[in-house]
Symmetry: C2
Subunit: 181 residues, 2 copies
C-alpha cells in the first residue's frame, strides 16, 4: 500500500448560461437589464429553469452578486452561492464569500462533490475561460444592438475552439446556442 490515498472526486462541469445583445453586452453601463426584458418573450422557454435545475451551486463575481443582493430569498432555491471576492465571511444563509483562483475553486467544488456549477458574471466567466475551466456555455442572443455596456467576454481570453451542440431560434428573434469547450 505504497500509493498515495486517492480522493474520490466526482466529475465537475462548470457551465455558463447567459443572455447577450448581438453586440455582446450583458448589461448596460449601469447594470440595467430593461433592454433584455423588453426583447424577450415571456411565453418562450429559453431553457433557464431546466438549466438551473441541473446545477448544484452557483459561482459569481462580487459585482454580479451586489446587483442581485437585494433579492430575498435569492431565486436559486437551496443551491449555495459562491461569491468571488477578497472580503471574507458569510453574509447571509446560503451565500459564501470565497477568495480563490478559478483553478483552486474548481478543486474545492470537486471536493464538495458538486457535479455542475453555474458560473455567472462577465468577469468571472472570462477568468474561468482564461484558465480553460468552462465546460459548456449556453448563450441566449437577443435581437438588440446596445452600443455600450458591460461585455460578456473580456479581452483576456486565450483563443479557444468551441463545439456547437445546438442552436435554436424563437419567434421573438432570440437565438439560443449551446457550446461545449
Amino acid at each position: 500500500m505504497s500509493e498515495s490515498p486517492v480522493i474520490d472526486t466526482h466529475p465537475l462541469r462548470l457551465s455558463v448560461f447567459v443572455a447577450t445583445s448581438v453586440d455582446g453586452f450583458i448589461a448596460t453601463v449601469d447594470g440595467g437589464l430593461d433592454w433584455l426584458n423588453a426583447a424577450v418573450d415571456p411565453s418562450e422557454d429559453y431553457g433557464y429553469y431546466d438549466f438551473l435545475d441541473s446545477v448544484d451551486a452557483l459561482a459569481m463575481g462580487r459585482r454580479t452578486y451586489d446587483s442581485i443582493a437585494h433579492i430575498d430569498p435569492l431565486p436559486f432555491g437551496n443551491r449555495p452561492v459562491f461569491v468571488f471576492t477578497r472580503e471574507k465571511g458569510l453574509t447571509r444563509s446560503g451565500v459564501v464569500f470565497i477568495d480563490a483562483s478559478p483553478a483552486d475553486a474548481a478543486v474545492t467544488f470537486k471536493l464538495m462533490g458538486l457535479e455542475r456549477v453555474y458560473v455567472d458574471g462577465g468577469v468571472l466567466i472570462s477568468s474561468f475561460l482564461e484558465h480553460g475551466l468552462i465546460d459548456d456555455m449556453t448563450i441566449t442572443q437577443v435581437p438588440v444592438l446596445l452600443g455600450v455596456g458591460t461585455r460578456l467576454f473580456h479581452d483576456v481570453i486565450r483563443p479557444t475552439a468551441l463545439t456547437l451542440e445546438s442552436s435554436r431560434s424563437w419567434p421573438s428573434g432570440v437565438v439560443s446556442q449551446v457550446y461545449s469547450i
Copy 2:
C-alpha cells in the same frame, strides 16, 4: 408645374455580411484571419456568393481596403468599391476613394441608381449603424473565442432593435443569422 423637380431614386439597401468569433471579433489584432479559415468548412455554403451576386457595389473603410489592396484583381467582379478615406483620387480601376459621411454616401449611392451596397469593415459598419443606415446584417458566427482582436461592433452604436429573419447552423458549428433593422 410649380413643384420642384423630383429626382427618381431607387430604393437603396445597405447590407452587411460578416464573419465573427463568438466573442465578436472580425480579425486578430494584426488583421489576421487564420482562425476564421481554420474554423469554417469549405464544403458549407454560408451564402457569401449569393450575397455578393445581389449587391451592386461595395463600401469599405480604409483599413479594410488596405488589408485586401494587394489582391489583383479584387474578388468582387466588376462591382465598384468605394473606400472611405480622407485621401482623394482613383488608385486603380474600379476603386473610388470617397470622403463622405454615411448619410451623404447613402444619398450619393441612391443618385447613382445603386440598389444594394455591401458595407464592410468594423469601423464603417459601426458608423453606418450609428446613423441608422444599415438595412440588414448577415452575421456568420464561427465557433471560436479569440480573446483579443478587432471588434465588429464599436462602442458608438445607438441602441437598436433588430428583427431576426433567419438563423441556420452548420455541421462545422458555424451559425448564420440574418437580421433586418
